[in-house]
């Protein structure tokens, strides 16, 4: 599977799991896309740990330091898996993985060279020294506990947007 | 070709018409069926209830009655499965009996399998009538792997229409001793099965195991249903 196919399959599977998907032609488009996804003025947690996060942080006038107070988290994640349309969020470089859990809206930026074809490829990379927390995220939080009716957004985000750069 | 007919205790005691139909079919397709008079029961009720010694006694008796090289044919998926799969287990630590059990297992045919693969009865252009639905009994399908043969035979019946029932492979609730030990659940399952049968609109339901058909017939009767319950052997023999 080449890089193009990986990206395509990843986005296709993520969309099947009810994630919003966005494929960017280049890094310049990131700001425009984010402006369209995140409503202006909402409290946003954007940790600024990577170059991509730094580059967009000033888009959010109401940027909060504590993810527990945020309505949305905008962050770059560790990687992704094409096989299942899954995001891999890891507690590397001081990242708070639960920042993608508490706010109702999670916006994940994925670098296309970090999309693994299969689950095995991801685990092969982490198995020698796994981070304290590796969380695979596929679509928004969900339940079917009441009459088997799907409800979105139980304890985790009710909205998940994925931007591939 | 000489074949040994294992009637099964249920057919012998309750449903001689199924045995007679089986005999007619075998004869029509060039076999020379012999009914060894010493036969009793395959031992399945004891085996399934955990009475291993009793089951072994029954199995040893079966093996002596059905000794030889001729194919053993039986109109029951679950009894065929008992011989093929469980006899070797019962004699796993007795090399002489184990060899006998394995040989008997290889020689044992459930009727529909024999009719399709050996007798090629589905090519004979048998006649049928009405609308028929089919219950795929558990041991026949899951244990013996006989899934297509009964359908092939039904499809070959000229003048009859086949309608599949929903969840044809779901257990009817007979389960041998299960029926006696947990009758309420057994009844509930049979009722559900009977409802599936009626929902097809068929006028006849058939299958390859008299135990299941007996259970189903009872549930249909309780519903006041007019659907006829007949073993596949009966339907085929009627078309001769």
């Amino acid at each position: 599977m080449n890089g193009e196919e990986r990206v395509r399959l990843f986005l296709e599977n993520a969309a099947k799991a009810a994630a919003g998907t966005h494929l960017l032609p280049g890094p310049e488009a990131l700001r425009d896309v984010l402006a369209g996804i995140v409503p202006p003025g909402v409290p946003v947690y954007c940790p600024g740990l990577t170059a991509a996060e730094e580059a967009v942080a000033d888009l959010f006038p109401n940027r909060v330091a504590d993810y527990a107070d945020a309505a949305a988290t905008v962050e770059e994640v560790f990687g992704a898996v094409a096989e299942t349309g899954t995001l891999a969020c890891a507690s590397v470089d001081g990242r708070a993985v639960q920042a993608g859990l508490l706010p109702a809206h999670h916006v994940a930026i994925v670098r296309r060279d970090r999309i693994f074809a299969e689950l095995d490829d991801l685990f092969a990379e982490v198995v020698s020294a796994p981070p304290t927390n590796l969380t695979l995220v596929t679509g928004p939080s969900r339940t079917a506990d009441i009459e088997l009716t799907l409800a979105i957004g139980v304890h985790g985000p009710e909205r998940l947007d994925i931007i591939v750069v | 070709m000489k074949v040994l007919l294992f009637g099964t205790c249920l057919v012998d005691t309750f449903f001689p018409e199924v045995g007679e139909a089986t005999l007619r079919l075998l004869r029509r397709f060039g076999a020379d069926p012999v009914f060894p008079q010493g036969q009793t029961c395959c031992g399945q009720p004891a085996f399934n209830a955990g009475y291993e010694d009793t089951a072994r006694t029954a199995a040893a008796h079966f093996l002596s009655v059905f000794d030889g090289d001729a194919p053993i044919v039986t109109p029951s998926g679950s009894c065929a499965a008992m011989v093929r799969h469980h006899y070797p287990e019962l004699f796993h630590d007795d090399p002489r009996m184990l060899a006998k059990a394995r040989r008997a297992g290889e020689r044992t045919y459930e009727l529909s399998r024999f009719l399709v693969h050996v007798a090629r009865a589905h090519e004979a252009g048998l006649r049928g009538r009405g609308t028929i639905t089919y219950h795929a009994s558990c041991h026949l399908t899951r244990s013996l792997g006989v899934r297509e043969e009964p359908l092939t035979l039904l499809a070959s019946l000229k003048g009859a229409a086949f309608v599949p029932m929903a969840d044809a492979g779901r257990c009817c609730g007979f389960g041998g001793t299960f029926m006696a030990k947990l009758p309420e659940i057994s009844c509930a399952l049979a009722e559900e099965k009977a409802a599936s049968v009626e929902a097809t609109g068929a006028d006849t339901v058939t299958g390859c195991d008299s135990g299941c058909l007996m259970n189903l017939a009872d549930a249909l009767r309780r519903r006041g249903s007019k659907v006829r319950v007949a073993h596949l052997a009966q339907l085929l023999a009627e078309g001769l």
Binding site: N13, A17, R95, A96, V97, L101, L119, D120, F123, A124, V127, T132, N133, T135, L136, T138, G139, P140, S141, R142, T143, A144, D145, I146, A151, V154, H155, G156 | L5, G7, C9, T13, F14, P16, V18, E20, L23, F35, Q39, C41, A46, F47, A49, G50, Y51, D53, T54, C138, R142, G176, M179, L182, P183, E184, I185, C187, A188, L189, N215, A217
Partner: protein, 455 residues
Amino acid sequence: MNLGQTTLRFRQNSVRALEDVALRAAMKQAADTFGAKRAEAFAPVSDLEALRDRASGIRDEVLADLPRHVETFVASATRAGATVHRAKDAAAAREIVAKVLSDRGAKRIVKGKSMVSEEVDLNAHLEAAGMEVFETDLGEYIIQMAGESPSHIIVPAIHKNRRQIGRLFTERLGVPYTEDPQALTRIARGALREKFLSADAGISGANFAAADTGSLVLFTNEGNGRMVTTVPPLHVAILSVEKIIPSLSDLPAFLRLLPRSATGQAITAYVSVITGPRKPGDATGAKELHIVLLDNGRTEILAGESRDILKCIRCGACMNVCPVYRTVGGHAYGWTYPGPMGLILTTLLTGMAKSHPVVDASTLCGACAEVCPVRVPLVPLILQLRRRKVREGFPDPKERRVMAWFGRAAASPGWFSLGQRLAGIFWPLVRAVGGKDVAGRLPPPARIPFRRKAH
């Protein structure tokens, strides 16, 4: 909530369940929905049999030398900074968890769904020790609020309809009545959010534990499992020893099989892989992680003829296809684990004396073994238990007499024919004595048995 084992009353329990029309409809709907979704989810998996072989092989490998894998896990988890406790039995597990919590002054506990915690009846013990335990899985939350126990291992509140849940929320939470699942879910989210943020400790189970890395793996959908394991300062995980897999790199096989088998999802919304507590420089993870490894009879099972049941990964697929389970539901089994897997585990873990009627709760139809993703030989295991039940003398004397007679008849055509003749003569009596549920369902014996016509 564990309301005391009632497995000995399986038949009475099942009769009660059969009379509960709403429960039966809900169970059937759940089983059918999951069954259909399962089939759908596996349809695109082309190499399913190879995948099952692989997963089954990994589970066999673990059981072949469980003590060594447990040692490796303990060493790895300890190296990662976790404190590992070994609990011999349920009482030890309860004590360990209670002590870890009380030593740290923990009073408010949030809990993720864990069958092992049900097995050891953890909540009642912690509550008796003065702690508040909040179930956070939506289904468990509803059940806890209603003071009931789960009826399905995946959808614990399946027996409650939306109106009942709406009324329950109005009564207990004082919110305006709604029966919209999405709105009810939002209410639960609000009520539990505050609990997560203020909890002193989180308790979770684990679906797997990787020996080579010492990692715990949790499959969840709602996000409560993630909350419980990352938000409070203290995380206590309780799992049984056989949940171990040799390597984290074995996980993909189970990631592909378990969610598909359980709910028909290609993967659960969340999979958490937790390796030790928060370390310097980390911004994620509990500050302290305690792992309680429960044996509770597993070592004994491992040494015996039923060890293959320990391959089970608790997907629930065998239940959804089981004709008995889908008809009577989980409560009837009378203990933590229902369905084909459950009746085996219940008998092995609680003993034949407390559970022998449930080994009959199978028609031996084999639907369970057909779907088991790790090829647990469920039917042979049930048959083994029935043999043990007979060996240990549990069947009632009437059954033994019938079987003794049957044995004699099966070995002798003379006795057999006599039996047939007697059955014919005494048929009205048999019907009367056997009762309408059993003998009333049999047709009368044929006037002339087949053997006398077969020439």
